[in-house]
């Protein structure tokens, strides 16, 4: 059996991953430009401070993704015998917490503005010799920053599904949060122009609550991943079908009388143990076990590190049958 192998994505997935890396660099460039543009249009106002904090948080998921991308497929070492796949899970947690913090900050900020009955002043601006209401310029800048956020988010979500990359998915959620807050700010500025001082804060509050919901969901998923939860789909919508399918395929081998499979997610890959009970008088058992391990790896690119052990019977300490992937109860 091959151990201490270096994990490589299949060629098509590796190409997607390289694309994701490029996209994340573009995301960082986009956020830096957005911060600069906002600084120019908003000056040192309170609104600028809020937008700045949002954009700084927006930098966390792409940065986490890029850091994890450098570590994820390193060879196992003596110190890290399970290799570095978990770096993707750690990045997922970092990105999720950033998303949650963004939502929390937006909610906090807008509630405080409502309580203080803060009336945002938006005056006149002079650009190219033309004097007009600063609100129009702010709206143009906000709409301009929305377009790349929408496009980046959509492409990333698609790649994230194909790569089963949860960091990338959390980052796509962040981009969604970003253009939603920008949209809310546009409505808020229009409201302010109409003399409704509370419009900005109320619009931000509604969007903030939506981001908090997203953030709570992804943070729970990230923590559950680190708790070795059974593999779930990239968008957290349900259990991953692979463990069930793999177990069924293993049981299809005619020398396998019974089998029990336990898998956990380590970033892109699944890692775990497979116990098999061979039928009586199975010959070449050691070879068959090793063949089974190769079979499981070939079954799906995500099955990476699987320990296959032949046993006489499968039972828990109290003699009951342990749960297998198809009967495990899961939070929907």
């Amino acid at each position: 059996m091959r151990v201490y192998g270096r994990f490589e994505l299949p060629p098509d997935k590796a190409e997607l991953h390289r694309r994701a890396v490029r996209l994340e660099w573009w995301t960082i460039v986009f956020f830096l430009v957005a911060i600069l543009l906002l600084a120019v249009t908003l000056g040192q106002s309170q609104a600028m401070k809020a937008a700045w904090i949002e954009d700084m948080l927006g930098l966390v998921p792409p940065a986490a993704f890029l850091v994890a991308a450098r570590f994820r497929n390193r060879r196992p070492t003596e110190r890290f015998p399970y290799a570095y796949h978990r770096s993707v899970s750690v990045a997922f947690l970092a990105g999720s917490v950033a998303l949650l913090s963004l939502g929390g900050y937006v909610v906090y900020d807008s509630v405080m503005r409502l309580i203080a009955k803060e009336r945002p002043p938006i005056g006149l601006v002079e650009l190219f010799g033309q004097r007009f209401w600063l609100g129009w310029l702010m709206i143009v800048v906000l709409l301009a920053t929305m377009v790349p956020a929408i496009l980046l988010g959509r492409v990333k979500q698609r790649i994230a599904r194909e790569l089963h990359d949860k960091v990338l998915f959390a980052d796509a959620e962040m981009n969604r949060a970003d253009w939603l807050t920008a949209g809310a700010a546009v409505l808020g500025i229009l409201g302010i122009g109409a003399g409704l001082w509370w419009a900005d804060a109320v619009a931000a509050l509604i969007i903030g609550a939506d981001i908090v919901r997203d953030g709570v969901r992804t943070t729970r998923a990230a923590v559950a991943d680190l708790m070795d939860e059974a593999p779930s789909l990239v968008d957290g919508s349900g259990p991953h079908p692979l463990p069930r399918e793999l177990l069924a395929a293993v049981l299809d081998h005619d020398w396998v009388a019974d089998a029990w499979l336990r898998l956990r997610e380590e970033g892109h890959v699944f890692v775990g143990e497979l116990l098999v009970v061979p039928v009586a008088d199975t010959d070449r058992l050691t070879e068959r076990v090793e063949e089974l391990e190769r079979f499981a790896r070939a079954f799906n690119w995500r099955v990476h590190d699987l320990v296959v052990a032949p046993v006489t019977a499968i039972e828990t300490a109290d003699g009951a049958r342990p749960p297998t992937p198809d009967v495990m109860t899961r939070r929907p």
Partner: protein, 236 residues
Amino acid sequence: MRRFGVLVVGLLLAVTTAGCGWPKDAGGTLADVRGGVLRVGVTENPPWVRLEGEPSGAEVELVRRLAGRLGATVEWHPGSESSLMAALRDRVLDVVVGGLDANVPWIEQAALTRPYVTTRTLVAVPEGGGAVPEDLAGVRVAVQAGTAEVAALAAEKAEVVTVPEVTGAEGMPVVVGDWRLGELHLTGTGVELAAHEHVWALPPGENGWQVEVERFLAEQGDDAVEELLVAAERAR
């Protein structure tokens, strides 16, 4: 997403049908001032505002012009900046003037206009009156006592001579605002001690009013403001 788009289009329609009164005030200050009373908080700060007798000064004159444009009568309310700003926040006043600098700390209480003029305090020498010192180290320079420029001058290592009022007749380089150069027959040296961007303070959220005031101030032009400053110095 689609609902969001409908909302945006609806609001844009509301904007275009609302006509030229855009942006609107949260509280209606512009409508109250137009043809009504303009309540002005004033703080003594010559030559911008002087409160001996009838208020005078460059910004007092500007306020009168603005009131004339809006057909409003002016009500003057002298007070300290902190008390006037609190009144401004609750819309008891419509504007506060007094040579305010753009860096005033009142952004919680007030909306500051865009800076409408920048003034500089310079070290100046009498016209044709000898060499212009390039380095102030050890040079005797006169400056009005009790101003921030005393410290700025000391930081240039000049020998500070404080006077109650700079007249230009001290027989040494003096520190003055750049608008006084012509009037006092002085030539500015390259040494600039400070630059002040001047603003007015308005009630926050009264964006229609703010745009009206900012438009008025932007139309004045630096030369007109300087003329008003010179006139205010002469009237002293």
